[in-house]
Amino acid sequence: MKKQMALLLTGVFAISTMVLGTGVTAYAEGGQTLSLYGNADDLAKPYMQKIISMWEEASGNTIDQQGLDTDNAETIALTKFTTGDIPDLYIHFGNSNLQNFNPEENFVDWTDAEWVSDIQDSVLPQATYNGKIIGLPFWEASNSGCFYNKQIFEELGIKQPTTQAEFDAACDTLLENGVQPIYLAAADGWPILYQFALDPVLTDHPEYVEKLNAGEMKYADIPEFSDMCEWFRSAAEKGYFGKNFASDTWDYTSEVLGTGEAAMLFCWDTWFDTDYDSESFDYKAEDFGIMPVFMGSCDEGTYEGGNVNLMMANKNGDKVEAAKDFINFMADPENYNQAFDGVSTAAVFKQQTTNVNSTQYEENKESVDKLIRASSAQPKIVGYNQGEGGKALLQLMSGDITVEECVKLIDEDRIATLESFAQE
């Protein structure tokens, strides 16, 4: 009897929640609702939220934002696309994973759009797929390099290095004076950011990318790749990354830099604005400068240009006109300048005026402009994997494997992905 009562109550309850539930949601009367899939983190960016609410107000439509779990966003989105559940709008980085989503079949081709000429040259390649522009880059672009604590450098008489040897010497000096040279959150894998080492090589030899992707070449065939691995190994051995790099996580970057425990960090300049907890620590954002990254593969050092997220529209959806309207709205200088007003970023659009370049960039503009390379490794190499590469490098740094084994591991992972994506 009790169970029947329970079931009955459940039924009543369920029905009432359904009725109440649908009533609680308020959707715009008369307007269309477009679905937007993306990584939850990405959707949460203030300029994204701003442009979305600006358009919702202007058009009377609503965008149902479905922010997917950060760690699994790729997998979940892929699964949905595979079953034909393709949203009206989709945000994704312009990298080689994008091909899994069949851009040519699914996304609107914007090659003839007016705003294409308004996009910076360094960024446009990422929005291109097989020669077509398949989305609007609407994202912050940062200059990535090596942060350094200007005060500590000054106190110890260290000048900004211009060669690999000078950089290593700077690290040695820091070590001798009890400062951890670099904070490397190796436990999280991706902060090892080994693409810094590859960008210059790929800029000098663009054909490497094609050959890698065609299976004609391996990382093992690129000497600079092994040089990079060897640098990490010896740097770890010398103590450049401290003692605990195997369990260091990205959570503590603010603290480690802010207290002066470590002097340098591989990162991107907008981080100071979005993530650095200036108030809590002795060193403020202005106390840090940016300098080139030296990872053993490029003697003059390098910076990396931005990786941008693309907003794409489902060309086979029934709300494609509204979706296109949204994207054109985003590309209008008046609108994007409003959304990015005061946001720390390098300019993605040529007519972008309201963005705020980082102080680090402004101070070292010459060096950055001279040595910056477009981000090539991560977006273009099929099977390029920050996490897996980071894991292999960590094993190398802990002394568990040799340089050859490390390169082999990273190659194997890349090739496995390459093969599973191969079009036969």
Binding site: T10, V24, T70
Partner: protein, 273 residues
């Protein structure tokens, strides 16, 4: 009870409370962190917050809280009712009927706790049935997914109920469903309550499956809201903890209620004559 037993019990009680520190510590951690500022929260320790940020709860509550709460409640209640009811009937028949076919069926059901949720084929199936994206489809999937464990639980108990009871009831003319209701169910009370609570908890906390099977954020369940605060670059531990506390509260409430049933089962469900 004699004095010796009482003394042993008291000693055991004390020991248990000492050990409970291991359990209480992390809970305290979550509670304290939930009212700290973001910077302090990242240390994840038991220091008292320098300022008490109760507004963290308000922040967490803002994002479509009521809607996801309704969704969670709706889905959880229906799913649990289905799981428990279906598993009860299934295990009753399989264990008592005890034919070769039944034994094979039982083995297959046990495989159910091994095989994981297959996202892609499930979505395709639901699409073909025309119910992809609905909350009901989620309930049915949960029912199928969680049936094996509950079935195994019930089976274990039913095996422990002597067949003489069944036979006595059959003499009185009760077979099939009636037999089940009059003889078995009263004895199953503790298990019913236990599996009810467990299943409620599991369904309530599910994070992955709703993301795959729901296609509109208006249908999202409550626990998914934690993803608003947990990202790759900066984790707002204080908000994550506040969210965890809010999301865990219903489960604790359900458990507290079910406690009475579990104990009631002991006193009332014993064999009568």
């Amino acid at each position: 009870m004699n004095r010796k037993i009482r003394r042993t019990n008291r000693i055991l009680e004390v020991i248990l409370w000492i050990f409970s520190v291991v359990t209480i510590y992390p809970m305290l951690l979550v509670l304290l962190t939930s009212v700290k500022s973001k910077g302090e929260a990242s240390y994840l320790n038991l220091n008292l917050p320098s300022e008490w940020h109760f507004e963290n709860y308000v922040t967490v509550l803002q994002k479509d809280f009521l809607q996801s709460l309704f969704n969670s409640v709706f889905i959880s209640f229906i799913s649990v009712a289905l799981i428990v009811a279906l598993a009860a009937f299934l295990s009753f028949i399989i264990v008592r009927r005890d034919t070769k076919g039944c034994r094979i069926a039982y083995k297959i059901v046990t495989l159910g706790i091994i095989a994981p949720f297959a996202a892609l084929p499930s979505i395709q199936l639901l699409q073909k049935m025309g119910m992809y994206g609905s909350r009901i489809s989620l309930c049915l999937i949960y029912a199928a997914l969680y049936m094996p464990f509950t079935t195994m639980m019930f089976s274990g108990f039913i095996k422990g109920i002597p067949r003489e009871l069944d036979e006595a009831a059959v003499m009185d003319g009760a077979v099939g469903g009636k037999l089940f209701a009059t003889v078995i169910i009263p004895l199953l009370k503790p298990v019913l309550a236990t599996t009810g609570v467990l299943n409620f908890m599991w369904v309530w906390n599910e994070l992955q499956i709703p993301l795959y099977l729901l296609n509109s954020s208006s249908k999202w369940t409550l626990p998914l809201s934690v993803y608003n605060f947990y990202g790759q670059f900066s984790r707002s531990w204080n908000l994550v903890c506040a969210d965890v506390v809010l999301v865990s509260l219903p489960v604790i409430i359900v458990y507290a209620f079910a406690q009475k049933w579990i104990i009631a089962g002991m006193t009332a469900g014993a064999v009568k004559g």
